[in-house]
């Protein structure tokens, strides 16, 4: 039976892809960075939005996510993505729900997903985020 060259090439490439990704996993490449201090928050926030200067913030207990607020009252959600951080300035489509010390925040983008932060006193953050959702802030 003749195998079409494109199919053969695809199968070979797929095997190589899985082998390389498996090797990266086996070698434990990547690591798990955490947000541990003020400088980390400031650095990551300025990476998400150049010039964003956090005035106050709350870092999740596991140090993989944070909320930060600047002088203009803008709230930024930061979370770990792989071994890098990604974030969004929350807008009218954002929403938050507090339950105990757990705060679940969605930025309104399906594929960015929801972020769960464990922080002390999450209610003021939830209220502030949900206020952004009000039409007058849109």
């Amino acid at each position: 039976m003749d195998i079409p060259p494109l199919l053969l090439q695809t199968a070979g490439s797929l095997a190589a892809i899985l082998a390389l990704a498996g090797l990266a996993w086996w070698l434990k490449l990547g690591g798990a960075p955490v947000l541990v201090g003020d400088n980390d928050i400031r650095r990551v926030a300025s990476e998400v939005e150049d010039g964003f200067e956090p005035l106050d913030w709350a870092v999740s207990q596991d140090h993989t996510a944070a909320l930060a607020r600047d002088a203009e009252g803008r709230i930024m959600l930061i979370r770990l993505h792989g071994n890098r951080f990604a974030g969004r300035i929350l807008g009218a489509k954002a929403g938050a729900r507090a339950a105990g010390d757990t705060l679940t925040v969605g930025c309104g983008e399906t594929w960015f997903g929801k972020t769960r932060l464990i922080i002390a006193n999450p209610n003021p953050w939830a209220e502030a985020i949900n206020r952004i959702s009000e039409p007058c802030h849109a």
Partner: protein, 320 residues
């Protein structure tokens, strides 16, 4: 006519090179790779190959038709005209510069090219992160002038193949700087790190494929500075490892913008630069850079450590 596809032969070398860089990463910079990111980048490469095989015939048909109207004729044995090869290679690289520049400045083309930039990592697997939808942007039309000059489509395809192979090795943080003369003429890891950076100073710079001289000539060159850490990816990072979202997110965003925009602005969402909006609610790369410049002028530049100082290969070489 030679039947030769250089990239086919290079694929095993690509795999070996990624393997070697992973070992380097294990020893020097484990954070340079992330398994899920690597899987996505390599899947992009595979999908791009399949898309090329399925859709590449359209570009070839256009080239063969255009070849009928060529200005110069290198004869039936065009492949034996030795000097035509280097000339074709250089002109193809010039065409690449412009198609690449258009790929960053026209949202329609960016919708496809953004795939190559959406990783927050910069390693050899990123080089293989190629678009599945490039054929939908008609970027191949930038090479039509070469066909009209008389270069055979097969010659152009072979030169483009070598161009692509050259660009593979520059996607690395393992090499800090090449020798000064090389940095002056050729595209290098340092120059191309700038191109993949989202730091405001680096946005939409260094479009070169092989020869960096095009950026120097056309005013888009920016050297890498050692006191500012590079961050890679796109201005609004994906934050998702979903392959299909990674492939199509900008197409969806663009079509959604066109759908919602007032009639007189619809075309602008297709043809203007990424980040442009009719109501000024978003920022283009120029706007981000200007805001950064104003802020730096007012406050003084922030200082951070270089991304490439851990490089073990060219530590003694002089920067260009």
């Amino acid at each position: 006519m030679p039947d030769f596809n250089p990239t086919q032969y290079a694929v095993p070398l690509f795999v070996i090179a990624v393997l070697v860089e992973m070992i380097w990463a294990k020893l020097r910079a484990p954070e340079a790779y992330e398994p899920k990111d690597t899987l996505i980048s390599l899947s992009f490469g595979l999908g791009s190959t399949i898309a090329g095989a399925l859709l590449g015939g359209f570009a070839l048909a256009i080239f063969i038709e255009a070849y009928q109207y060529r200005l110069f004729d290198f004869g039936p044995q065009w492949w034996a005209v030795w000097w035509a090869w280097p000339v074709c290679f250089v002109l193809d690289d010039l065409a690449y510069y412009w198609v690449h520049r258009a790929g960053h400045r026209i949202r329609w083309m960016w919708a496809a090219h953004v795939n190559h930039h959406s990783s927050q990592h910069y390693n050899l697997s990123t080089a293989l992160r190629q678009s599945w939808t490039g054929a939908l942007t008609f970027g191949f039309l930038f090479a039509v002038p070469l066909v009209l000059l008389g270069f055979h489509p097969a010659m152009i395809a072979i030169c483009s193949g070598f161009n692509l192979i050259y660009q593979f090795w520059i996607h690395t943080e393992a090499i800090k700087r090449m020798p000064r003369w090389f940095e002056a003429v050729m595209n290098t890891p340092s120059h191309h790190r700038v191109h993949h950076a989202t730091n405001p100073r680096y946005l939409d710079r260094n479009y070169a494929g092989v020869f960096i001289i095009w950026d120097r000539m056309f005013g888009t060159f920016e050297p890498e500075v050692d006191d500012e850490a590079i961050r890679y990816g796109i201005v609004k990072q994906l934050g998702s490892f979903n392959l299909l979202w990674a492939v199509f997110h900008e197409w969806i965003g663009m079509l959604s913008d066109i759908w919602r925009a007032p009639l007189r602005h619809k075309l602008s969402y297709l043809l203007r630069e990424p980040g442009w909006s009719h109501d000024g609610s978003r920022e283009t790369s120029d706007m981000i850079r200007n805001r950064w410049r104003a802020r730096v002028a007012a406050q003084g530049a922030p200082v951070a450590s270089s991304v490439a100082t851990r490089n073990p290969i060219a530590a003694g070489s002089e920067p260009a």
